[in-house]
């Protein structure tokens, strides 16, 4: 009896060992592509599943978690530099793609599907290519008269204590602040941030929360991602979405496209390129536009849900994302001290 138990235990251990050490089963024969994804899994996974179905290439993905957005994929990509495991990185904003380029982790690829995407949303050397974008928009409580139409509303006395913004140390908010610094210069940028504080702007943990605050009527407006706004509009919340700074002399609305990156030294470069082509297709952009993430297609002529304006009708803030990436690192100490950290 006892011996039987020992034998069983040993068998289990051996079986577990084989199981654990067996390379992921798909590696051996079938075609595979490994992709690290920073776009929310809820939205990205269906696209990747479709890709599997249509091409027969198995997709093995690593997703980022919301709690630690980007500690996952980006850090792994950097740590794995000398022996890359990933073929493709699906970034949810181009700044990270720029960081990878600067760190020598990516390799150029000019996808044939990218030729209609406006040059502003592509790296000129081909290290990353943008697609399906979020716009940085204002959500405004319904019923507010004379809606704010510029991010400068944050520093106008009229809105004192009435506005909220997500923590500028993280996410797209930090990118936008960096973008503003590149447009305005450091002095005006800093002045804006100081004025923001003086105007008693509330700080939330993330854009979704900002949008919830406005939807709940606690604040009048907030700068958030367009998907946060569309999402809540679709849920029937009492908010409206405003593309800021659209006037003739104004700086325009900051656009945050997704980006595809081909990893240098990828093990499945062929499949990787195929996946990138797929992600950059009009079909994918359309799916992402109609999904709950409501992302704005960058290709002309893609069908749109009613809440979205086509990219051609939005005045985009013209920025060089490489410059923004550099600025972002530069202003971190300032932002930290600004946050009181």
């Amino acid at each position: 009896m006892k011996k039987l138990i020992y034998v069983l235990v040993i068998l289990c251990v051996v079986a577990a060992g084989i199981f654990l050490l067996s390379p992921p089963k798909t590696v051996a024969k079938k075609k595979t592509v490994v992709v690290y994804v920073s776009e929310d899994q809820v939205f990205s996974e269906p696209i990747l599943k479709d890709f599997e179905k249509e091409t027969g290439i198995t997709v093995r993905a690593v997703y980022d978690t919301e709690e630690a957005k980007s500690t996952g994929s980006m850090n792994r990509l950097i740590a794995e530099k000398d022996n890359p495991q990933a073929d493709v990185y699906w970034a949810n904003e181009p700044i990270r793609a720029e960081v990878l380029k600067q760190k020598g982790i990516s390799t150029p690829y000019f996808s044939p599907n990218a030729k209609d995407i406006p040059p502003m949303f592509k790296d000129k050397d081909g290290y990353w290519t943008g697609f399906s974008a979020r716009a940085r928009v204002l959500v405004v409580k319904k019923g507010v008269k004379e809606k704010p139409e510029s991010i400068e509303a944050y520093v106008q006395p009229r809105w004192k204590g009435r506005a909220v913004i997500a923590n500028p140390l993280f996410g797209t908010t930090t990118s936008e602040v960096a973008a503003l610094f590149t447009k305005w210069g450091d002095e005006k940028g800093r002045a804006f941030m100081v004025a923001l504080k003086q105007n008693k702007v509330a700080i939330s943990t993330n854009n979704g929360e900002s949008a919830d605050f406005v939807a709940a009527g606690q604040y009048d407006f907030s700068l958030v991602d367009s998907d946060d706004a569309v999402n809540r509009i679709r849920q029937g919340k009492d908010i409206v979405m405003v593309y800021p700074d659209q006037g003739k002399d104004e700086i325009g609305c900051f656009i945050v496209p997704n980006a595809t990156v081909l990893i240098k030294g990828a093990r499945h470069p062929e499949a990787g390129r195929k996946l990138i082509d797929y992600l950059l297709s009009k079909k994918t952009e359309q799916k992402l536009a109609f999904a709950d993430c409501a992302q704005i297609p960058l290709h002309p002529g893609v069908k749109l849900p009613p809440e979205l304006n086509p990219i051609s009708e939005i005045k985009a803030m013209p920025v060089d994302y490489a410059e923004v990436a550099a600025k972002l690192v530069e202003i971190q100490p300032f932002l930290k001290s600004w946050m009181g950290l």
Binding site: L21, R60, E67
Partner: protein, 531 residues
Amino acid sequence: MQKRVFLAIIIVLLLLVGLLPVFSMLVNSLGLDSHFSFVAYEGVLTSRHQWVLMGHSMALSSIVTVFAVAVGVPLGILFGKTDFPFRSFFMFLFAIPLLIPPYITAVSWFDLLGREGLLAPFMGPQLTAAAGRFLFGLPGSALVLFSTFLSIPMILTMVFLKAVNPRLEEAGLLASGWRGVLKGITIPLILPGILLSAILVFLLSFGEFGVPNFLRYDVFPVESFTQFSAFYNFKAATAAAVPLAALTLAILAGEVWFLRKKGSQLRPSPDAATAFPIPLGKYRRLMFSSATVLGLVLVVLPFSVLVIQSAGIKNYVEAFNRAGDSIVRSILYAASGAVLLTFIGFFTGYLIQTKAVKFWRTIDFITIFLFALPGTVIGIGLVSLWNRPWANLIYGTSAIIILGYLARYTALTSRICATRLSQIPPSMEEAAQVAGAGWFRRMILIVAPLARRSIFAAFIVGYIFSLRDTGITMLVYPAGHDTLPVRIFTLMANGSSRLIAALCIIMIAITIVPAAILWAISRPVAGKEMT
């Protein structure tokens, strides 16, 4: 000879799996690969802000520890030593929050008390706002972590109570009532266990980043975290984790100092199992209702949110569709992790307890230190160390996850086993030695069976902590091979709350069911052992 060689292998394994990745990060952070420099450290260690955060972390961890011990120990005594009704049920109830990542508990509380929470319509706007103020900040973070870690002192108290010789208590009973005996005899006897639980709770709350981040209370690990997530600056991130080593050292030194004054008196008598439970008498009803209220508030209330949100077959079907494979993997990884954790923990526990090597204290320190480190540091260390073409058998497979578990959680199984081993008289092994048995035979046939219960306990704890791990897993899992808690996290970003709730319930189930079965199996065996 066998003993030396084998223990040396265990030590080397521990160093290789746990310390080496961290060490490589450390070397890297000092810039040794190019030229030696403290640049990364200057920035982190000289900023005043760091010390403010350190203060926050200390405050949070201390509050959580004090409350968890102050409530957990009495609960442990109540469930382990008295005629309290439905003891096992209550024990499981209070253990539930420990089984899932505390971040989810925080989200549940938010779903309950938040602006659009379940209770908001009943509370009115003013109360809701007050609840929000409470939840966000130090009190909320402390509440969530307190409810999560409450069961640690509770369970450890119960375990240690089992080892108290009832003769000692009976002797005391002649002189005073139970109240006096508990205060004067029982509690001092189980002090090492209480102290251990306090250390664990303190370190676990200290390292917890998700909850304070979500509830907006800035704590120390945030620095390491932002260095990773915003700057991808591994050097600074490691530097930011270094003060934790000092903290660990201070805590362990405190423990040694504290316990030195008290020799351990825990030698279970052969008839320990026959000890009488304390009759609660007229207090029975009062105690019962207090525990019920506590259970309702701490566990039932927040988790009913999950139950309500996940209600309906449809949600579970979707959960299985979207995460079925992760569920299976989670169970397998956690079980394998638990086997290895128990194995290594048993031997490190043995060598710490018997002081088999001169530097046994160092081994203990290393395991505790790894336990206290942010998972991200170990995770990145593992990646940079193991991600090499020749090591693909490790890094390219799930083995790397198991290594992560071993690196992080050996302290738990090691301490559990060491505690039990300290209760086994050395003469047991010596008798076998005189009878001519070599070390392996002694370990397998004498020591391990005597420590059987702690081996089961170590396995269960190893299983639970491996299963709920996210910090390391999410950094090292091979593409396409995530675990359930990681999947929950990734789906949390804009995923439907119903789906998340259903996944959380599944998570609780796959933790509780195997653990409960094992516990049930281990009981009669252990009972016989002592009668």
